[in-house]
C-alpha cells in the first residue's frame, strides 16, 4: 500500500506541492489527475525518491521513502514523464541495463525481456538501436525497462501522452494485466477518457493540493455532474467553471 500524507515541496518562493495526501492499494489502478503544473509530477518524484519532501510523510508498505529510498525503489517500476532511452543502445540493452541496476541475474533478465517482447509485440525492434524509434516504440521499451524486475508498485507519469491508438491499447491492456496480477498502479494523466476507462479510484490535484479523492462515481456525484470530464473541470478549475458548449 502507498500512503501519502500532507506532503509539501517548495522551490524557492514557488510552492509546487502544498498539501497532497492519498492512499493507493494493491490490485487497483489509481489515477492522479490535474491540470498541467498542478504538482502531479513533483508529487510522484517525491514518491519515487528523487525529491525530498519539505514536510509530510510518504510510506510504501509502511517504509518511509525519504529514509529508505533504495529499499523502496526496489519495489517500484517508474516511467517518469519524458524519460528517454539510450539511443546508442538496442532496446534489449536498454532493458537489460535497468535489470542489472535492479540487481537481477542475467538469466532472469533474459526471461523477463522475452516476456515483454511477447506482451508488447516488440519482436521486430528488440535488437535495434533505439535512436530511430517512433514514440510508440520508445514507450514500449520504456515500459518494459521500468517493469523488468516485476515491481509491486508501478508509477507512470503521463504514459499515454502522444501515443497512437494501437500503442495506447497495448499500454491499457498491460495496465489491466498488472492490476489483475495484484499490483498497485498509479498513473498521472490529464486525459479524462483514459481515466474513465482505467482507473478504479482517482485523486484530483489543483494548485498543489488534493481537492478530492475517491472512486469515479463518488467524484462525479460530489461535483453534481454527469461525466468524469465535467467533474474534473469542476474540481480542478473551481466551482462554476464549465466547458463551453462549442468545445464539447
Amino acid at each position: 500500500m502507498i500512503e501519502i500524507k500532507n506532503i509539501r515541496k517548495r522551490f524557492g518562493d514557488i510552492v509546487a506541492v502544498d498539501d497532497v495526501s492519498f492512499v493507493a492499494k494493491s490490485g487497483e489502478i489509481f489515477g492522479l489527475l490535474g491540470p498541467n503544473g498542478a504538482g502531479k509530477t513533483t508529487s510522484l518524484r517525491m514518491l519515487y525518491g528523487l525529491f525530498k519532501p519539505d514536510s509530510g510523510c510518504l510510506l510504501v508498505d509502511g517504509i518511509s521513502v525519504p529514509e529508505h529510498t533504495l529499499q523502496v525503489q526496489r519495489r517500484m517500476g517508474v516511467l517518469p514523464d519524458g524519460g528517454n532511452l539510450y539511443t546508442r543502445l538496442t532496446a534489449r540493452e536498454n532493458i537489460a541495463y535497468f535489470g542489472k541496476l535492479q540487481g537481477m541475474q542475467p538469466a532472469e533478465i533474459e526471461h523477463s525481456i522475452a516476456n515483454f517482447v511477447d506482451i508488447l509485440d516488440m519482436h521486430s525492434i528488440i535488437d535495434r538501436k533505439t535512436g530511430g524509434f517512433s514514440q510508440g516504440e520508445r514507450m514500449k521499451v520504456s515500459l518494459a525497462r521500468a517493469l523488468v524486475h516485476s515491481p509491486d508498485y508501478i508509477l507512470l507519469d503521463e504514459p499515454t501522452n502522444g501515443l497512437d491508438v494501437l500503442t495506447t491499447q497495448a499500454v491499457r491492456a498491460l495496465l489491466l494485466r498488472l492490476k489483475a496480477e495484484g499490483k498497485c498502479v498509479i498513473f498521472s494523466s490529464h486525459l479524462m477518457h483514459e481515466v474513465a476507462n482505467l482507473c478504479d479510484r482517482v485523486a484530483i490535484v489543483a494548485q498543489g493540493k488534493v481537492v478530492i479523492e475517491g472512486d469515479q462515481s463518488t467524484v462525479i456525484k460530489k461535483a453534481n455532474k454527469n461525466t468524469m470530464e465535467d467533474a474534473f473541470v469542476h474540481f480542478a478549475y473551481g466551482e462554476g467553471t464549465n466547458i463551453p458548449e462549442n468545445l464539447r
Binding site: 525503489q73 541496476l101 521500468a146
Partner: protein, 388 residues
C-alpha cells in the same frame, strides 16, 4: 552492489564505443601530435642534412689530388667545376667553388705557400655554413702537411701551435634531443585532458539533457556508485587513448632519423612504462574534474565549453617548463600538472627521475582527485543537477 557499479561501467563503455564521432575526435589528437612530432623531427633532420651534404665544385682537381682526397674523405662530394666560376657563384648555380691554380704543384713541391681560391658570396648567410666547413677542412689539411714537414726536420709540430682551442659541447646528445622534443610532455598531458571531454560531458550534462538521467537514478543504486561507474569509464577510456598517444609518440621518436643529427634517444619500453606511471594519477584527476564541471554545467554545450577551457590547463606548466631549465624540483611536485610535466621532460631528456618525486607528484594529483570526486558526488545528489 558491486554488480551495479560494473553494470554502469560496462554500459558507459559500450555507449562511448558506439559514439563514433566523439571517439574519432578523441583519437584524432594523439595521431595528430605523433605526426606533428615525427614531421618536425624530419624537418629538423632534413635541414641539418642539407647543410651536411656539401657538393664542392673544384677547378683543377688534377693540381692537388691529396687535398681533393682529404676533402672527399671528410664526406664532401667533389665535382669538377667548369665555365666561369665567378658567374656561377653570382647566378647561384654553386654556393662555393674551390680553385686550385696550375702553379699549385710547383709551389707545393718547392714548399712555398701554395694558394687556392675559395669563391663564395659573403652576403649570403645561407651558404656560410658550407664555406666555413670547406675553409676549415682546407686549413686542417694545411696544418697536417705543415706538421709532417716539421717532423721531417725533427721539429715538434707543437711549436707551430702556440694556442689551441678545445671546443667542448657540454650538452649531452639527449639533452639536445629533449630540447627538440620539449613539446612532447605538454602534448602527452594535453591528450590526457582532451580525450575524455566528449565522454564526460555526454555521461552527465548530455544524459540530463536527453532526459535519461532521471530514469537511471530511479533505480536502487546509490549516487556514489553512479558517479564511480561513470568516472571509472571516463578514466578507462582516457587511459587507453593516452596509452595509444604515448605509444605513438615513442614510435614516432624511434622512427625519426635522430641518429643523423648525432642524437641518441633511449625511448623504449621502460620509458613508456615510466611515463604511464607518472600520467595515471593525472588521468584520475582530469576525468574527475571533467565530470565535476559537466555536472555543474547547465547544458551539454556549456559542459563542452567549460571542458575545452580545462584542456588548456597543461599548456601553462608546459610553456613554463619549455622556457625554464634544469631538472624537476621538489616544489614543482606539489603543483598539480606541473610536477608530472616536469618529470616527463626529464624522462624524455634521458635524466634519471627521483622516485620520491614521482610519488609526491602522484600523491598531489590523488589528493585533489579525492576532493573532486567528493564534490562531484555532492553535486550529483542535488535535485537541481538531476533536473537542470
Amino acid at each position: 552492489m558491486f554488480y551495479q557499479y560494473i553494470a554502469i561501467l560496462n554500459k558507459e563503455l559500450l555507449d562511448a564505443m558506439r559514439d563514433f564521432k566523439s571517439l574519432a575526435t578523441a583519437l584524432f589528437m594523439p595521431i595528430f601530435f605523433a605526426l606533428f612530432s615525427l614531421g618536425s623531427m624530419h624537418f629538423i633532420v632534413s635541414m641539418q642534412q642539407s647543410n651536411d651534404q656539401i657538393i664542392l665544385p673544384v677547378q683543377g682537381i688534377e693540381n692537388a689530388k691529396p687535398l681533393v682526397d682529404w676533402l672527399t674523405e671528410a664526406g664532401i662530394t667533389v665535382i669538377a667545376a667548369s665555365g666561369n666560376p665567378e658567374e656561377k657563384i653570382l647566378n647561384k648555380t654553386y654556393d662555393v667553388i674551390l680553385i686550385i691554380p696550375e702553379n699549385f704543384p710547383e709551389n707545393f713541391r718547392q714548399q712555398r705557400p701554395a694558394t687556392v681560391d675559395l669563391l663564395s658570396d659573403h652576403s649570403s648567410s645561407k651558404t656560410q655554413g658550407k664555406v666555413r666547413k670547406v675553409r676549415q677542412l682546407v686549413n686542417q689539411w694545411s696544418t697536417k702537411i705543415g706538421s709532417i714537414r716539421l717532423l721531417t726536420r725533427n721539429i715538434s709540430p707543437a711549436i707551430a701551435r702556440p694556442a689551441v682551442i678545445n671546443d667542448i659541447n657540454v650538452s649531452t646528445d639527449q639533452q639536445v634531443a629533449a630540447k627538440i622534443l620539449a613539446s612532447v610532455p605538454m602534448f602527452t598531458l594535453l591528450i590526457v585532458f582532451a580525450s575524455g571531454i566528449g565522454m564526460a560531458s555526454d555521461m552527465t550534462a548530455g544524459e540530463r539533457e536527453r532526459k535519461s538521467l532521471e530514469p537511471l537514478l530511479i533505480n536502487p543504486v546509490p549516487y556514489t556508485y553512479v558517479f564511480f561507474g561513470k568516472w571509472s569509464a571516463a578514466v578507462l577510456v582516457t587511459f587507453c587513448i593516452t596509452l595509444f598517444g604515448i605509444g605513438l609518440q615513442i614510435l614516432s621518436i624511434n622512427v625519426a632519423p635522430l641518429e643523423e643529427l648525432g642524437l641518441r634517444l633511449a625511448m623504449g619500453w621502460s620509458q613508456f612504462a615510466l611515463i604511464m606511471f607518472i600520467v595515471i594519477p593525472v588521468i584520475f584527476l582530469a576525468s574527475a574534474l571533467q565530470l565535476l564541471v559537466s555536472l555543474f554545467a547547465r547544458s551539454f554545450k556549456d559542459a563542452q565549453s567549460y571542458n575545452s577551457l580545462i584542456v588548456l590547463l597543461p599548456v601553462i606548466p608546459g610553456l613554463y617548463l619549455t622556457f625554464s631549465s634544469g631538472s624537476a624540483e621538489y616544489w614543482q611536485m606539489l603543483v598539480p600538472i606541473l610536477g608530472p610535466t616536469a618529470l616527463i621532460v626529464d624522462v624524455i631528456g634521458g635524466e634519471p627521475i627521483a622516485i620520491q618525486h614521482a610519488i609526491i607528484a602522484g600523491g598531489t594529483s590523488l589528493v585533489i582527485t579525492t576532493l573532486l570526486v567528493f564534490l562531484g558526488i555532492l553535486l550529483l545528489k542535488r535535485e537541481r543537477t538531476i533536473f537542470g
